[in-house]
Amino acid sequence: MIVVENLHKTYSTGLGKKGKKGKGKGDGNHYGNGDGDVKALNGVTFRVNKGEIHGIIGPDGAGKSTLFRILTSLLLPDEGPSKATVAGYDTVKDFRQIRQIIGYMPGRFSLYQDLTVEENLNFFATLFNTTVKENYHVIKDIYGQIEPFKDRRAGALSGGMKQKLALSCALVHRPTVLFLDEPTTGVDPVSRQEFWEILDKLSEQGITILVSTAYMDEANRCTRISLMQGGRFMATDTPKGITESYDELLWSVEGERMPALLAELRVHPSVKTAFAFGDNHHVTVREGISVDALREHLTGKGFNKVRITPIEPTVEDAFMKASMEVLNGNE
């Protein structure tokens, strides 16, 4: 349903004109190309099949929103031998057809706050030449939850309810492809859970969903995911495939004085990487060192009650590894 090949997008910051002031920002930015322009997308390639939930996992500034805006025909990509189609329609040439068949939910709540819930929904239905009644079955599950508040102004809704309304508005014309740009950012855990349940149902109905998120725990709910950083896709696979292809020795380290412990781990010669993961540290180590040897070493440095356990990698570990590789590759 979505085919993207070698997509590039460069934003001109206006700083790089004739190399005059380009040095300041362009060189400091790790994905700038030296003359002050920012490369938001740097050769993105992927493919999403019908009915899949494809997650794009990446931190802020990875280029997720830029990708979404190109695919929803709001933004033109750089010219060149690239390709981006949605349901077979080219995002540059066939933008009219694309606008008929997609639903888009931008990262920020952007419905009319001074219109009521029902008015917003009717409004977007009318823009697509349809009615709420005609497509009520599509939005029933979501809209049903906020329908008791249909006369309330959208601006007066809670965060979770706003998301549900925004999703209802994006679905009211029965799109075949749904673009959700960080739909759960700033939403409480219960509402996030409900939201993903709704997405599962939509995908069962055959709607293709492209969703971006900065929450690694949501990655497991996607059919396939792409890890994105610095305008590039570092890996694309099923969540299971991503974690299975993780080939490092991964240990979790817990103990007292966690910040000092992290610093100590990082200088150990057998430790490749060490990152803080909530209440423990995830450490990758070279072959040849044992759990006991590392614990002894730490005890010798004055860290008591250190617990070290080998663990299964998560998507977040895979992400950290991939982004370290990208960084090292750049150097």
């Binding site: 025909s73 709001l74 933008f95 888009y104 931008p106 001074d114 008015e119 009717n122 823009l127 030449n129």
Partner: protein, 378 residues
């Protein structure tokens, strides 16, 4: 068409849920017309004068009385010497000093002439110029009176002996605005300001607000045509502009008795053509700004140029050539001139057709530019 109707409906809903906008339609034209015409006047009144009378003779007294009786002057004080009066002027208490020499009465009787000293604070140029002119008129008046009186006192024979003096008098008649009332002259200009703000600036800010809120992206991913979207933004503001225009015309009639000497339909028709052109200008501003702050700055910049270079306050013919060139591509200029012609001169539709043609041309150019520069994608 159904989409357009729904888009317009949405705009009206939002408009009336915003109490500020709803009130603006009625109060804005009313307040502008109730307050501003009184403040913007080129007449100079209430000039504060000190008269320093050294001689205190009866003729000097009559001059002082004449100053006091004049509607233009307020007799502030009669200090004993020039220095005291000068200090008062330096403190900003008075605008003008009239100094009457102690030989005033004697000179008039003996030599049939005398001199009066006049010192005017010209920091404010128009007070300086007009004030001294008014004062010269008063002094001339008095000298004419005194000449007549002296003539009566001389014997009949002597008058016969005098060579007959040719006399020229100018009789002034002000056409179209016989009382030279500046209010009547300015009010049509205020109509134009009201229309510019309601139909040019408000829709521009409204569109930029949709950009800031991100709602415009939601519209842009739908199949809605951009012309529909813009039209749906403008039609509500055209409507309220027209309502406000009618309110303004009524207020001008009820408060100032000002009704067009020409046809009211010519007035309304010209207003509509102007509304369309100025709203195009607003859309252009909104297309080139991403935030309300940028739009507000552009609006303030352009509104100053538009109003000052329109001939509303100062005649275009006395501006430098480059300013005249700007004024000639300013829609404001043409409606101000049209409304003044229809209201005061009683011009017909045919008389103002050149102005209307220019306005129609602006409407086409500005709106064409507005639609072309509105981009649904970046």
């Amino acid at each position: 068409m159904k989409v357009l109707k729904f888009l317009i409906e949405k705009e009206f809903k939002q408009m009336f849920r915003n109490p500020l906008i709803a009130n603006l339609i009625v109060f804005f034209p009313t307040m502008v017309l109730l307050v501003f015409p009184w403040t913007i006047t080129f007449e100079v009144n209430n000039i504060r004068v000190d008269v320093v009378d050294h001689g205190k003779g009866s003729y000097a007294r009559r001059l002082t009385d004449k100053v006091e009786a004049s509607p233009y002057f307020i007799l502030n004080d009669t200090p004993p010497d020039y220095e005291t009066a000068m200090q008062a002027m330096e403190r900003g208490e008075i605008d003008m000093i009239v100094e009457i020499p102690h030989t005033f009465d004697r000179d008039i009787v003996k030599q049939q002439s005398s001199r009066v000293g006049l010192a005017v604070n010209s920091v404010n140029g128009s007070v300086g110029l007009l004030g001294s002119n008014y004062m010269i008129q008063i002094v001339n008046d008095l000298s004419k009176e005194l000449a007549n009186e002296l003539l009566h006192k001389t014997s009949h024979a002597k008058i016969q002996a005098l060579p007959s003096l040719p006399r020229l008098t100018i009789e002034q008649r002000y056409r179209f605005n016989p009382q030279m009332d500046y209010k009547l002259f300015m009010i049509p200009g205020f109509f134009v300001i009201i229309l510019t703000i309601l139909c040019g600036i408000l829709p521009a800010l409204n569109i930029v607000l949709e950009k800031e809120n991100g709602t415009i992206h939601q519209i842009n991913v739908t199949p809605v045509q951009k012309a529909w979207f813009i039209l749906a933004k403008l039609i509500p503001y055209w409507t309220i502009g027209l309502i406000a225009f009618i309110i303004a015309i009524s207020v001008a009639y009820l408060i100032y008795g000002l009704w067009p000497a020409g046809s009211i339909f010519t007035v309304l028709f010209s207003g509509i053509v102007f509304i369309i052109s100025v709203s195009g200008m607003g859309i252009i501003i909104s297309n080139y700004s991403e935030t309300l702050q940028q739009a507000a700055f552009l609006v303030i910049f352009f509104i100053l140029i538009i109003i000052l270079l329109s001939g509303m306050f100062t005649p275009i013919s006395s501006m430098p050539v480059w300013a005249q060139a700007i004024a000639s591509i300013n829609p404001f200029t043409y409606l101000t001139s049209t409304l003044r012609m229809v209201y005061l001169n009683g011009s017909s539709l045919a008389d103002v057709s050149t102005n209307l043609l220019m306005l129609a041309l602006f409407s086409l150019l500005l709106n064409g530019w507005a639609v072309l520069s509105y981009k649904k994608r970046g």
